[in-house]
Symmetry: C2
Subunit: 390 residues, 2 copies
């Protein structure tokens, strides 16, 4: 049983078909796991082999194509009729003589779609160059079009059901960051703190079980606070060092990220305190500003204006859209809060603002995961915007 | 500090250069996170954006190219000189007007490599079709060659240091499967069992801290035992249902997978008991057979012969090579134990044999993670080959 009602998936498929029509695409080949899940409900850790969902304007339901052993998983987790589940035999896997896309092309030919305008997710990590080459070879009469983030943009406005899942993820996020702050201390091994955090992520709450995040706990201590994407080791935390945390609560693959900074001592360095103060004020002013009608780049400009009295330079984007996702990223690859992004912010978008600072001499992370409302924004969870000292 | 001595990385780079020469490749662009880690030590969860390592026959050290904010992470975790760490600015990330591979091409041009034979990992999930298109556009004088699993094949024989890491992963695997068997019971939520398992994976042992696996805990209960790659929900386990587990111990990204089957009752169904008996005997006979000099397909044939008296049909490959890895897969993509794979098995290869059965009416998983020795094989850990009832 998929996690949403069949009707919700049907709406998503209709919206995708409208986006396809607008771009002259007859048939869409979807490889990104989050997009496959969004359109069908399919939920398995099978994305280490080639698989896809086909959406055709002249076919009501999506078609799932994957490895034979995963077909039963699709029967269990998707809303699809069994007749729309196609399974390739195991000798296609990592073979030197055949490729899963040869099977996909055979399905496309069998359906009479070989001469169509076919949309492909050209820059998605689960669509390799070789996948393209095989399709091009097997479907010489097709016209291939880039449909890289077509479904991602369909996902950008969340349904009431999705928003409810994200609020549940927010409840879990509070448990997760509480657990992190309680676990991390001088003399504790980093791996033991990461273990407590993962346990909290997977457990969730008594009411809502948790899920795996698209990014494992990121945890930078001491020297590592000058960079954002490291994980843990078996070193112990030291007195008077800072720890940056980027975590998430997750409910059925919907994310509510949460990032905070801990200082393991009573007196964080002046530079960290000053940086924190500027960043937190800047974040608060930005949150006050966001509402339907402003653009992504205007949000970022407001942030830049708010910190302009300081020495802080934030080169990287301020934030991005979030929702359902699978490893390796919880970012949706649609809206980026940065100069040049003219997307108009609308009600029921969900954004992650993460004004992280990773300098040689100071690192600081804090964030907000927000839903856009009719008049402004609302956080997916409430958690103090502080440096935590202990 | 990288986890191995600089000399070990230098040996790996030399071996890679020899493999490049043999295939007429002057410059290799490595995108797979495990290959990047193997060649440089780099270890960050930054693989959701484009990044790579360049190996050139006329350049001693590898060159790392990634996002600006991750450059500091490369300084911390790799053995590379800072001068070999190249950082692209943040406006390359998920941009509509530029692509990280434009920056990579600029580095290649700057080094005078624009007219070389350039090897690319054409069917790796972190090398998209778009990445190829951008390189082709920016480097019209280059000749591109497929180097899809070139580094993976260099990785196939493990060094003493790697084997020690895999034995540590084996120690952790025993803790992990013990935890799983103790946690899973009638009335327990699946997510709570998954949480206990993840905690055990990340904690590791008192001596050796754990790491995140390339595949999250796979846990199929009840109806889901007919498929291999599902995760957990917040349902509770029921009396008299089977639970299939595919897990791993992990030490610094080196894996020791462990799969077992639990039955939540005293009397597993006859079909499961019979299937288990055949599979376990078949696995044991296969383990007795494996030694240096036999081929991958001979190992599989021995397994097929061993189960030939039964009704079991195992369509998918029996196993594959393992070692260092990152999501989404702990398989190395080199050796597959299946018909047609004529790779000669050699000392210090490490294989995962997983004769999983996923039928409509019975599922059963068990495995062995083994190191090839001079005369046969040795398991990375000892754990009973049973169906566990409780």
């Amino acid at each position: 049983m998929p996690v949403f009602a069949k009707k919700e998936y049907q709406t998503r498929v209709s919206n995708t078909k409208r986006a396809m029509e607008a771009r002259g695409i007859d048939l869409l080949l979807v490889s990104q796991p989050a997009n496959m899940n969004y359109l069908t409900g399919y939920d398995g850790w099978s994305f280490y082999v080639h698989q896809c969902v086909l959406i055709s304007l002249d076919h009501e339901e999506p078609i799932w194509i994957g490895r034979n052993m995963d077909g039963n998983g699709c029967e269990i987790t998707s809303f699809l009729d069994n007749k729309n589940i196609y399974r390739y035999q195991d000798d296609y896997v990592q073979s030197l003589v055949k490729h899963p896309m040869n099977f996909v092309a055979d399905v496309i030919k069998g359906k009479g779609w070989a001469n169509k305008n076919i949309g492909l997710e050209m820059d998605q990590f689960y669509f390799t160059h070789r996948a393209y080459v095989e399709l091009e070879k097997d479907l010489p009469d097709a016209t291939f079009k880039d449909a890289n983030v077509l479904v991602n943009w369909v996902r950008v406005i969340k349904s009431p059901g999705e928003l409810e899942f994200m609020r549940r993820a927010g409840k879990i996020a509070v448990e997760v960051i509480d657990t992190a702050i309680n676990s991390i201390d001088v003399g504790v091994r980093e791996c033991d703190a990461a273990a407590a955090i993962a346990k909290s992520q997977y457990t969730g709450t008594l009411e809502f079980g948790g899920d795996y995040p698209s990014i494992v706990p990121l945890m930078m201590a001491g020297e590592a606070t000058k960079t954002p994407h490291l994980t843990w080791s078996d070193k112990t935390f030291k007195a008077d060092e800072a720890v940056l945390l980027e975590l998430s609560g997750v409910y059925k693959h919907y994310h509510a990220p949460v990032a905070r900074t801990i200082f393991l001592g009573k007196n964080p360095p002046r530079l960290m305190v000053d940086t924190g103060k500027v960043v937190i004020e800047g974040l608060e002013k930005t949150l006050d500003f966001i509402k339907p009608g402003v653009t992504a780049e205007e949000v970022e400009a407001k942030w830049r204006e708010a910190i302009s009295g300081s020495t802080i330079v934030k080169e990287s984007r301020l934030g991005y859209s979030i929702g359902v996702n699978y490893p390796p990223d919880w970012g949706e690859q649609t809206i980026s809060l940065r100069p040049g992004d003219k997307t108009v912010i609308k009600e029921n978008m969900v954004l992650h603002l993460i004004p992280g600072i990773w300098y040689e001499d100071v690192g600081f992370e804090i964030d907000a995961s927000i839903q856009i409302t009719g008049t402004g924004c609302e956080e997916l969870y409430k958690y103090p915007l502080n440096i935590f000292t202990k």
